[in-house]
Amino acid sequence: MEHLYEMLSKVDGYIYSNEIELHWGILIVLYPYITGLVAGAFILASLERVFKVKVLRPTYQLALLTALAFLIVAVMPLVSHLGKPFRFYEIMITPHFSSAMAIFGFVYLWYLMVVLLLEIWFDYRRDMVLWSKEKKGFKSRLYKILTLGVNDLSPKTVAWDDKLGYFITVIGIPSAFLLHGYVGFIFGSVKANPWWSTVLMPVIFLFSAMVSGIALVMFLYMAVSWIRKVKIDMPCLDEVGKYLFYVLVLDFTLESLDQIHRIYEAEESFEILDLLVNGKLNYTLFIFQGLLGTLIPLITLGIFRIYKPKPKIRKAFYLIISLLILMGIFFMRWNVVIGGQLFSKSFLGFTSFKLGLIGSEGFLMTIFWLVLPFLILAFILWLLPPWKKHEEEPAS
């Protein structure tokens, strides 16, 4: 409780007596951040599959597997943040349907089990059957289990895999929209909090999710190619950059609209939010999210639409931009989640937030939750390498 006494001395103005403790800390910043990466990566994958953007082919499986790796982790910070983590299942068995949070478990499971796992399974089934025959020992057995005993490799069955996979992706697009739009609704529907309560919140969350997910796949595609020492497919990377630019324009427009609307309406909460934005959120909003995370990538990608420098320079810029965007969106979530709790609901003062180093809500744990999906992804890429897929029909 020491930290609360420290907080007490840092209170600025008047806050309600119970408001000293900031209730949703860094773990709840990670939650929309990671789910956003999932939704964004999946939508990039579906561009190739459903909208037939063939040039994106090299990123298709990578995007899907990235979505899976991050989705597995998405729920962990959330559960570990609960005051009673071992009661988390109550939300599934006795959901209270008037709560915006109640169906998260179902939305999550739907997305994991019905969309991602099924789509990946249909996409890899033929390869897993072939790999189970090619490999030996443990790995062979593992692939056998993963095929769930469906070993039929007849062209008809393989064609069905493709058809069903396509169908799942079609369902997956609205599901990805649902997953992240819904996360936005959890915040946007809190009428007590004027910083969150905007009807645009789900839409903003969705577009920022797409921005971050595409940037992540862009980064991973370059990183994985570098590790595997293979040449980066520049038309593909440029195409990813193109979509990133379009989505970033939309995201920037929506977020600006939200702020302009707030400023113009200048409701009861305006003064406190003005102080918040120009005070406690100054750096994270204007510098990290706005300038570094949005404007610089936007301008660079915009210039690339008109003028294309040499591939080497483009690659370097794509790398920097993807990292900047990933940081920018992280701070966007930060500004929403932490920012929304820094001011008092009395609109008369501020509390403060200090990120500790250790503990379940500390900096090191945050790094762990952010690194974990990459480790899971590394394992999945080892298990299901997209570059070892059998493109040709197997000789029977």
Partner: protein, 255 residues
Amino acid sequence: MGSKRINNSRRSFIKKTAALTGTILASSSLKPFNAILFATEQSDESKPWYGIGIDIEKCIGCGNCAKACKEENNVPKEPFYFRNWVEQYTIKNDGEIVVESPNGGIDGFTQSVPDEEIFKTFFVPKMCNHCAKSPCTQVCPVGATFESPEGIALMDENYCIGCRYCIQACPYGCRYIHPDKGTADKCTLCYHRIKKGLKPACFEVCPTGARIFGDLNEKDGVMHNFLKNHNCMVLKPNLNTGSKLYYNGLSAEVR
């Protein structure tokens, strides 16, 4: 002719009954989807439906209510957990609003603004508003927060998962996480006392009778008369929480 008419009326009766039954069945199966329309049900007027009245003009800021609440309900003593607290509002001549509530008012108040700068000053006791459309009940993902038949917002600590969504949703800052239990905690309007016919602790100890509580359904009851004889206001009416905590003499600056 007559039998035909009877047949007709019988037929239409059967039709109407079938339609009615169908509607009831259909609407009952749609019940879970009513979740989006929250708390639109009216209270049963034959049963008690508690409301609270606080007369700001009578409050002297002694802090007894906040103190008694902590004693009665085993609220942690640290100055971060309150079910009940008192705020001292001071409006300065230049319009600046100064609000203070050191340790929730338990240790009394001092005035930090010099007399000559004060336009007006008053105390505002705060507690759970026991809203009829309470946002905390609405957002609880497991239903650990619920409304008692008497209209009191209660918490089941054995069921709460500690997600803290209710704390975010309460516009009045009336909830906290109990440091030892890890679950949300709040004012119960001393449910254990009022069930025995006693007053809630904070009402019991108020030396000026600034606090009253009673059945809003009771005609000519205390609440009925309080609301009739005073121009009362609730906090943050724009949020439509259905607050049942009515203040007499509430100044526009109070939030």
